[in-house]
């Protein structure tokens, strides 16, 4: 396995001379020496007088600086100290992260009353303590300065009283003339809010509630309604499935409830010598998604053929089951062997398999249901008795609403948490309709594309400022509680509705309590007193009265031949040059656009930040003569040619980035970019490609066929990471197959078989190891490459915990990104359909660290606890350490990224990124904010180590294994990271380090890292591995 070749991009796979020359450079960019010394200063002689002048100036400056008065700092205590606040100590509150259908049960960390960090709530059986990047980053959105600071009328600030009076007057007028009111919202997880809307519908006549999801799952809901009579997303149990077949469902990254699914999925991906079993995951898709990159087998098919593959699988299973088959053409050039093998596995694992389809087409969804039904998965891996509510949108109703608006049939439109003027493919029709509505109100938090067109903006609180509840899955309830008083003059959406009803006004908080008292309090018998019950739920954050059990399925009503007709029309629509629109892990449907943490998070596959782009295959680029090159301008910058994409009557110019893993005749681009009114951070980042999609009767189709893609003749610079380090052919990731692993647990990691030899080699050294390492603690980490899915939650968790600055697109282009933990993505094998390994890379805390002995001022050195320490205030910024680090994990503050410098020209501030007094409130006071000119890197969350040690000492107790969790470990939804004490031989970490799969990155350099990795195991036959071509 060691001979396997890994590559980070296509350029590296088949390097040309320019690429090789670039890799030989010590620095990716030219040092700005010429710029600094324009006037031959280097040649000039310094006369004695100048020297004396300089000396005099320095002395005077030093004297002046010394005589500056020390600023007076104030310590202002509370007048009445709240009992729960201890200055200097964090308080934790259980709450929920809810944005539309996105859900995570969370714990919010507050310091002195301001939320600064989000972590997963381990008590929740939905998200099980996991989070994703979006939840982690939502704390920064709280301090977004672009949020509305109060109610607005016609985009001008107004007073609540005045706005309320006018809206009420208009509503009453509508009531009198028996007009029609429409409430257009995103998926609402809160049962109380849904009840408020129902109450509102009673108070006013003809109220229609339309739910709209920009990246819709409406087709699945429709299919479930038609085949089961349940209009909902099923509760999936990936942890019960031995075989997973996914058709374009990116369930680890963006599809419905990725954290929940990742938690379940990763449980089945952890192999050990005692339990060498894992699930078998086959992904059928047109472009390389994050989920596809984790699949054991990946079938790369043209979008028009996806449905045909599904029917083919269905037919084969049906033959085995003795059921009726459908008459459909075979998918073009199908890899029969892989399909047959998958069918065999599915059939063998009836009741323990799972088929999911992410395509928003009701016919495909119905076939999926039929397939799962044949495989006896209902009630077991697909549970409809307790369905999920995380997508509720209906495409048909949205389109009907737009039509009615245009026809003047709607008198009032209330918009909550959706941005149709941006995200609808037919936004123009919506805008036109909006002009005809007598009363238009938006509850969105900013003057976005939609809100700027309505009459009244009544901004909702941020989720961390308001009370709420959520029911992501039936019977799985959770509460949200405010962790800070509203920063602005905002009001909760349900509270506004309550206020406008003529009913006696009460606060939404009391409303929720009453709702819970009536509906959920009776569903338990542990507490007789509601207050006690409420406090318990509030403390835990969740209320899950009944466990999830296998259920009797609702009757499957079957499907008829009509689906084949629908399917054929779907396939026909995508023929020819196809375009696929997909959602990115970080950006979602565009609602997170003004969050710089998420904008700067590299895409898990392409590693591009701050942009969307058209992903094209190598062969496509060749036929269209599109070039991707590294351009030499203020650094080596990725420059790509642009293309003009025309589909569904819209046309957009996009940069074309060559990406492996894309089907022939297919191009792909991400939605969620190109916002024009998101705020300073998100405006103009990328292009809006929603207009390229279209609505059909079968649902919103985020794809198009017969697309015209023509070179536009321009080049565009992309900020792509992971292009500027070179592996030099050294093995850094290791992998094997499950069969081989079963034969020999050291498979793929044969070098470590002779443990005695390894031990001896590790102990042979010229340098004396730190004598304190054997005594006390010796911190270490183990990362399971088999569990890691590459989602990037750790990157954002670390960013939030450690005050890692945002640098902005221009700086990322120059490779100045600051993330302390990055995820490297390595391709191997077939460039058209590569295998992928994701490897989190952070400071390895080497016991024999190359960075330490080159530091001229000893700013970085080894601690007795095995930490590679970095003393920022001692660092003089020579960057020798970064140069000498083989893992390239050290980050240099080229400029002042947090706006704390006294000289404005030293600052480089990305909009909204911890640079104003407001956004700086997100900073963790336990971690110093680094200044310009110093090096920084992962500290193993030393502040958490120190805090846990202090807690243990204070109680006179030993530090327990697992007491310390680093931010990346806590944020990981796949539990891929283990942190602990290497000196504690019973610790989970020590067990991991003794595992046969355990290896250290670049161990040949004798750096003795404290971070180890575990070999990736693919559930794949060996022969398939050697010839990995599943091109259909």
């Amino acid at each position: 396995m060691a001979t396997k070749k890994y590559w980070k991009g296509l350029a590296e796979r088949a390097p040309d001379k320019a690429f090789e020359a670039q890799q030989q450079r010590e620095f990716p960019e030219d040092l700005p020496v010429d710029e600094l010394f324009k006037d031959n200063v280097l040649q000039a002689k310094a006369p004695r007088r100048d020297f004396l002048k300089m000396l005099g100036f320095s002395a005077t400056a030093a004297t002046l600086a010394a005589s500056c008065e020390i600023p007076v700092r104030k310590a202002i205590p509370y007048v009445l100290k709240p009992e729960v606040v201890t200055p200097g100590k964090a308080s934790w509150y259980a709450s929920s992260f809810v944005r539309g259908g996105d859900y995570c049960s969370i714990l919010t960390k507050t310091r002195e009353g301001r939320p600064i960090k989000i972590e997963g709530n381990p008590l929740s059986s939905i998200t099980q303590g996991g989070t994703h990047a979006r939840a982690q980053a939502s704390v920064l959105s709280l301090y977004d300065g672009q949020r509305l600071k109060g109610p607005h009328q016609k985009s001008k600030p107004a007073e609540w009283q005045q706005v309320d009076r006018q809206i009420k007057k208009k509503l009453n007028a509508i009531r009198e003339r028996d007009g029609k009111i429409a409430i257009l919202t995103s998926t609402i997880l809160s049962p109380s809010t849904r009840q408020v809307i129902r109450d509102f519908a009673e108070a006013y006549p003809n109220v229609r509630h339309v739910t709209y999801d920009a990246n819709s799952c409406a087709a699945m809901l429709d299919a479930n309604e038609q085949t089961f009579g349940v209009r909902a997303v099923p509760g999936y149990r990936f942890d019960k499935a031995n075989v997973i077949l996914s058709f374009d469902a990116d369930f680890l990254s963006t599809w419905i409830s990725p954290v929940e699914y990742t938690k379940q999925y990763s449980k089945k991906r952890k192999v050990s010598k005692d339990n060498p079993e894992m699930n078998h995951h086959v992904q059928v898709e047109s472009m390389l998604s994050l989920t596809g990159s984790n699949a054991d087998y990946r079938l790369r098919v043209h979008p028009s053929q996806l449905g045909l593959v599904l029917v083919q699988v269905y037919n084969k299973v049906a033959r085995l089951a003795g059921a009726n088959t459908f008459n459909a053409p075979a998918p073009e050039g199908a890899n029969k062997k892989l399909v047959d093998q998958t069918v065999r596995k599915l059939w063998k694992n009836r009741g323990r398999s799972l088929v999911v389809t992410g395509i928003n087409n009701v016919h495909l969804q119905k076939v999926t249901n039929a397939l799962n039904s044949l495989l006896e998965n209902y009630g077991k891996t697909v549970r409809l008795r307790k369905p999920s509510y995380q997508r509720q949108g209906s495409d048909v109703e949205v389109q009907q609403l737009i039509k009615d608006m245009k026809d003047g049939q709607v008198d009032a439109l209330l918009v909550h948490d959706v941005n149709p003027a941006y995200s609808l493919p037919n936004a123009k029709a919506f805008n036109e309709g909006l002009g005809k509505v007598a009363l238009s109100v938006s509850f969105n938090d900013r003057l976005d594309e939609t809100t700027s067109q309505v009459q009244f903006a009544c901004p909702d609180h941020h989720g961390m400022e308001s009370w709420n509840d959520a029911e992501p899955r039936q019977g799985y309830l959770s509460l949200s509680q405010p962790t800070i008083a509203p920063l602005y003059d905002t009001r909760a959406f349900p509270e506004s509705l309550l206020k406008w009803m003529d009913a006696e006004h009460k606060t939404y908080y009391h409303y929720i309590q009453e709702y819970w008292k009536a509906n959920y309090f009776p569903r338990q018998d542990k507490y007789n007193d509601f207050t006690k019950f409420w406090n318990k739920v509030l403390h835990d954050g969740i209320f899950e009265p009944e466990p999830d059990t296998e259920d009797d399925l609702p009757e499957f009503t079957g499907i008829d031949q009509s689906v084949i007709k629908g399917l054929a029309s779907y396939s026909k629509g995508l023929e020819g040059q196809a375009l696929v629109l997909y959602e990115k892990t970080a950006m979602g449907d565009g609602r997170y656009a003004n969050n710089p943490w998420l904008q700067e998070m590299p895409d898990p596959i392409s590693k591009v930040t701050w942009d969307n782009y058209l992903a094209v295959s190598q062969s496509f680029a060749e036929t269209h003569n599109l070039k991707n090159s590294i351009r030499q301008s203020k650094g080596l910058i990725k420059a790509v040619d642009t293309v003009r994409v025309k589909a569904n009557g819209a046309d957009v110019e996009l940069p074309a980035l060559i990406q492996p893993g894309i089907a022939e005749n297919t191009v792909a681009v991400a939605i969620g970019y190109g916002r024009t009114k998101a705020g300073k951070g998100g405006n103009g980042v990328g292009k809006n490609v929603f207009p390229l999609a279209r609505f059909t009767k079968a649902g919103l189709t985020l794809a198009a066929g017969n697309v015209s893609v023509e070179p536009a003749g321009n080049t565009y610079e992309l900020a792509q990471t992971q292009t500027h380090h070179h592996l030099e052919g050294r093995p850094i990731v290791k992998e094997t197959t499950l069969d081989e692993y079963k034969k020999d647990p050291f498979a793929g990691n044969e070098e470590y078989k002779d443990q005695e030899k390894i031990k001896k080699l590790r102990e042979t050294t010229l340098y004396k190891p730190h004598k304190g390492l054997k005594e006390g603690h010796h911190w270490g980490m183990a990362i399971d490459l088999n569990a890691c899915i590459g989602c990037g939650a750790c990157t954002i968790a670390c960013q939030a915990e450690n005050n890692v600055p945002v640098v902005g697109k221009e700086e990322v282009k120059k490779h100045h990104e600051m993330h302390w933990i990055r995820i490297d993505r390595y391709y191997s094998d077939d460039p058209d359909n590569p295998e992928v390994v994701h490897q989190p890379m952070l400071c390895q805390h080497c016991d024999n660290a190359p960075c330490e002995n080159v530091c001229p001022v000893a700013a970085t050195n080894q601690s007795s606890e095995g930490l590679n320490q970095m003393a920022y205030n001692r660092c003089v910024g020579t960057r020798y350490c970064a140069n000498n680090c083989p893992y390239k994990v050290r980050r240099f503050n080229w400029l002042d990224y947090t706006g704390a410098d006294s000289f404005p020209w030293n600052e480089n501030i990305a909009e909204g990124a911890m640079s104003s007094d407001l956004t700086r409130m997100v900073l963790n006071p336990d971690v110093v904010v680094r200044s310009r000119g110093v090096m920084e890197k992962c500290t193993f969350c030393v502040q958490r180590i120190q805090d846990s040690k202090l807690q243990a000492k204070s109680h006179g107790k030993k530090l327990k294994d697992g007491d310390i969790k680093t931010a990346c470990q806590q944020g990981c939804p796949a539990d891929a990271i283990t942190f602990g004490d290497q000196n504690d031989k019973a610790s989970k970490l020590s067990r991991k380090h003794r595992d046969e799969r355990n290896y250290y990155a670049l161990e040949i350099l004798h750096t003795l890292p404290s971070v180890s990795y575990h070999t990736k195991v693919r559930n794949k036959a060996k022969e398939d591995k050697d010839t990995n071509t599943q091109q259909v």
């Binding site: 700092r73 104030k74 007048v79 009445l80 304190g772 601690s863 110093v928 500290t939 202090l950 030993k958």
Partner: protein, 406 residues
Amino acid sequence: MGKSVWLLRSVWVSVTFLTFLFFEFSLQAQPDGQKLFNQNCARCHKVHQDFTGPALAGVTEEHEEEWLLSWINNSPAMIAKGDDYAVEIYEEWDKQDMPAFPQLDEADIRAVLAYIEAETERGPGATVADAGEPGAAAETDDAGIKTILIVISVILLLIALALARIQGSLNRLVKEKAGEPVPEPLTIRKIIRNRKVAAAAVIVVVVFLCAKLYDGAASLGRQQGYQPTQPIAFSHKIHAGINQIECKYCHFNAEKSRTAGIPSVDVCMNCHDAIQDYPEEVFSGNTGTEEIAKLLAAHENNAPIEWIKVHNLPDHVFFSHAQHVKVADIECQECHGPVEEMDELHQHAPLSMGWCVNCHRDTEVNIMDNEYYSIYEQLHKDLKAGKIDRVTAADMGGTECQRCHY
């Protein structure tokens, strides 16, 4: 005759001196009724008005001294014994216990009673005019002695110089008389003109200046002795010194958190709800009552008090009070100095890194009694084997960068 007069005189002087001395001493040994009253009684009693307990004006006229002595010494015992009047007071004041004061002896109680008597005579509203500050007096005394010593040394030095000069002149005269050659006198001018001396002087001056420069540079940003004027003339001496309030009563976060915490106004009000009068002048020149009024105003108006931070560490230093106060059990005074003697607080220690590190090197850690330290097996072994006699913080990495900088 003369001799005996001298003897008599000296005896007389000694006796007078000793008498003064003892008189002084006995004066000082007399218990201070006011101080005792403030320390023990003022929490519940005022002289001229009812408070938690009854007003005490005229109490010495109402009761026998005997009865008072026994009541103050141990009132619960008297109630238990069933003393009529004791029970009557107890019932009248809602059965609130007055604690026993076994630490006060009869002389103390008499002093307190005398103070009450004096206060009774003075009548309500009168201020204590002559609250002399014994501390200040002591300080002046100390300073005086120092000055006298310096003056004496200077005089002695001058005498020695004069004598040496006279001896030199006499020697020269003797030599001149004997006809021996007389060396040139060594004048100051000559010494200054000497090259070696000049070189040495220059070196000394340069070294001195360099040392000064280094000290000055190193102390840039340090604020030892920093004593800002606070918005309220809060005296630590009155609170922690005279009234012996435990530091951690107000700075109650010290054992829990990184910061010891400036007490919030409601903590002050725990006591100052009752103690609103302090007619004496405090160090700011105002009376205590005036200063307390500022606190009451803050409480009333819900306006936080903007104290000025005295102890400032740079932002890149993470110091935890909990680690030092709770785990290491270090007295507050070790770093903050004799706070109980300071009226207005000032920064006692330099709070420099060298100062921190030195303490980490020197301070012994008790690793035997805290289970956390059991992982330091080698240190435990060495300690038992007598290889080392103590373990310091530095032995466990206490001087490493990332213990404080992260």
